[in-house]
Symmetry: C2
Subunit: 438 residues, 2 copies
């Protein structure tokens, strides 16, 4: 099975756990069987592997998510990096070209496209396989998944099938309706359009060549920023007469708000939290080291991260976005391919950060124009490289770097550093990267 997972969004509705660089799909909130926590993307990836160990998985995403995806899924996951955001049609074409040109998959093979963050049963991924199989038959150019609606939602588009069978030609598509209209659609046998579909590689490449002037994956990648923003639905699906739908009746949830997310949490608290016995239908997700104590809360979600603390009635938690937009604040923590960082303290002319590097990983070799930095090694061993000079480091070592000096640190074991930044203009944009010689 070839799968393209579309990974997008900035996900402010799950503030303070999601932010500009960590979308909701990366929040670790689900208890695994071994007791650890996993994110939506880790859950989906694990489920795909369970259903099809050999699946070719490509994650279509922006540059800003690459480091975090490697952090959560490992270094071997396939990623089709979009140089900039151009909506779903260019993204799907780029990932399809990647499968064909870079990975050498035959144009006759089917591909399934789905979002990276549905909360679903394993049977969903069995249906994806069937979807691919159906596309391979060639009865239609596009095979969509139709999700049996749990209620007349206003949040999704609807697919009206010609027949009640599990596989049927599509009669028409309907935009997000109001509840009353949704009820009439459902009475006609309509299904939710969850943005999942399958096609043969050659079909999408041919559609792409009709609409975009390009030679190959590399060529498309190079001119990606010149492409028009256009959705796959608009560019392809809505104009395609040979289109089928396959019914999926298993569990499916779109976890876009705290209200829906806490519905699927299998424990009332993640992280350091105590709820007294009078709390009802209350969930706590705490990514801070300090404890949270809840007393007498009903239908409430409490969530804390280095970026802030939310205390909200669950119903109202879906209206969080304008408040979060107002805050417009700094990213205080992030997971990267090489490890993670956490801002500990911000003063007018200084910032203190805890950096954790995974064994064998390193930061980029870089310099800053407007700030000096000090590294205090607190755990692990490794090597620093300062203006080309190497030096081993271990706990207690201090390395000072003037503005302009090139530096990186390479971890042998898990390495932790307290980094003190000093300068009149401390900014994430003040960073020049350099190639390492070897």
């Amino acid at each position: 099975m070839n799968i393209i997972l579309l990974s997008g969004g900035s996900g402010k509705r799950l503030w303070p756990l999601s932010n500009d660089i960590r979308s909701k799909q990366f929040i670790k909130i689900f208890k695994r069987e071994d007791g650890g926590l996993e994110s939506m993307v880790q859950r989906v990836y694990r489920q795909i592997r369970k259903v099809d160990k050999e699946a070719n998985v490509i994650i279509a995403t922006s540059k800003s998510q690459v480091s975090l995806i490697h952090n959560q899924l490992g270094d071997n996951v396939g990623i089709s990096v979009e140089p900039c955001r151009r909506d779903t049609f260019p993204a799907i074409v780029l990932a399809t070209a990647y499968l064909h040109d870079i990975m050498g998959i035959s144009g006759e093979e089917p591909v399934v496209v789905c979002p990276v963050d549905p909360y679903v049963d394993d049977s969903y991924f069995e249906t994806l396989k069937l979807l691919g199989g159906q596309a391979a038959k060639g009865e239609a150019n596009l095979v969509l998944m139709g999700i049996a609606p749990a209620y007349p939602s206003e949040k999704y588009g609807y697919i009206i099938p010609e027949k009640k069978a599990d596989v049927s030609p599509v009669s028409s598509f309907k935009e997000k309706p109001d509840t009353e209209t949704a009820k009439t659609y459902i009475a006609q046998g309509a299904l939710w359009n969850g943005g999942v579909f399958a096609y043969k590689i050659n079909y999408v490449l041919q559609k792409a060549h009709e609409l975009i002037d390009f030679e190959s994956y590399d060529d498309l990648f190079a001119k990606y920023d010149t492409l028009e923003k256009i959705s796959f639905d608009y560019a392809v699906a809505e104009n395609e007469p040979r289109i089928q739908m396959m019914r999926y009746s298993g569990g499916w949830k779109d976890l876009g708000t705290w209200n829906t997310l806490t519905e699927v949490m299998n424990e009332t608290a993640v992280g350091n939290a105590v709820l007294n016995e009078t709390c009802e239908n209350t969930h706590v997700v705490n990514e801070l080291d300090i404890p949270i104590l809840c007393m007498g809360m009903k239908d409430v979600v409490v969530s804390a991260s280095p970026e802030g603390i939310l205390v909200s009635d669950k119903e109202q938690s879906s209206q969080i976005k304008p408040f979060v937009d107002q805050m417009g604040q700094q990213v205080m923590f992030a997971e990267k391919s090489w490890g993670s960082f956490h801002v500990l303290d911000v003063e007018e002319y200084s910032m203190t950060i805890k950096v954790t590097l995974k064994p064998g990983h390193r930061m980029n070799y870089h310099s800053h124009q407007h700030r000096d930095e000090i590294w205090n090694v607190i755990a692990g061993t490794g090597t620093v490289l300062i203006d080309g000079m190497e030096q081993p480091v271990s706990p207690g070592d201090v390395v000072t770097m003037q503005a302009g000096c090139r530096h990186t640190i390479i971890a042998d074991t898990t390495l932790q550093v307290i980094e003190v930044q000093l300068g009149k203009e401390i900014s994430v944009h003040d960073k020049q990267k350099f190639q390492l010689e070897n």
Copy 2:
């Protein structure tokens, strides 16, 4: 006016803002007229100065609070330090002896004793003056304040006066009653006993010599740990036949729980907080740098500090203590006479702390047996003293100290340091203090 303010308690019921070293009276929660915040003890001290600029104020307290009292009230406030805790009778005797022997106040002068943390109108302090004046007359040996009860409380002792006049002999004292009994007391004209009383210095010194074998303040201080724990009520008040009561009918509140504390807050939020328009009777006190967003909360208090986060129904907030006892955690921040510290990060073999020193102040000259330390100066200028060697420091300077090395830092301007501690056994008890030569 001579006033002894009794400052006690560890105040877990206002967690996470109070802790083992910061009692509730030191929490900065009241808006001053100039927009700044003040604590209960700062408020009381300011009110005393307003009513009597020349008042002799002595704060009777334990060693652990001295640094914090200087931080909040300045270096000139009088403090009678109890070498250990021995209940109110020894504490009052020690402070009275301090007034007489050290400050040279005449034995014929009156003294007023009151708790450091009542939430009261300025008129309360006018009444204290009258209380002192009444004691000076010599009609009675003790003059107690009787507080006109706002409701039949179970939380206070009651004073039954002989007459309804503003000043009256005391008929009897009553222990904390149940609500029904309280109602019958109030029907008899009973008043709350707020632990406020006045006497002539000689009276208490004479009582003290009857019960304790001591010569002078210095002698009493030296043998303080051998004294029996006994309350002033039990040792003196209950056996004194010449005892009067003076009525106080102004505002008086005992702010012992989040519920009562938030009642007197003149704003819904202190610190970085946003409450949406559907919040009702909800208060936020946030001492963290990160924002708190509250949506749809009713009758709730949210409080956050480096030690934890409380989200509680106001009614239930009075039952916090057993939960806080369970947490039994480390002190994460403190205000000291010389400035403040804030724990930023705790790892197995390291701790990172931000230290702020006030201009002209310094830490103790000290060493640690089991940890190395690194100072990263991030703001201000000063001098470090390391094993007798002086060195000026400014932002960007790094000082490393091996275990065993004696060190201190003296601030010229407000000085901020990121201190990284490294060692297998990091403990607040691993500290040897030394005298500075000059």
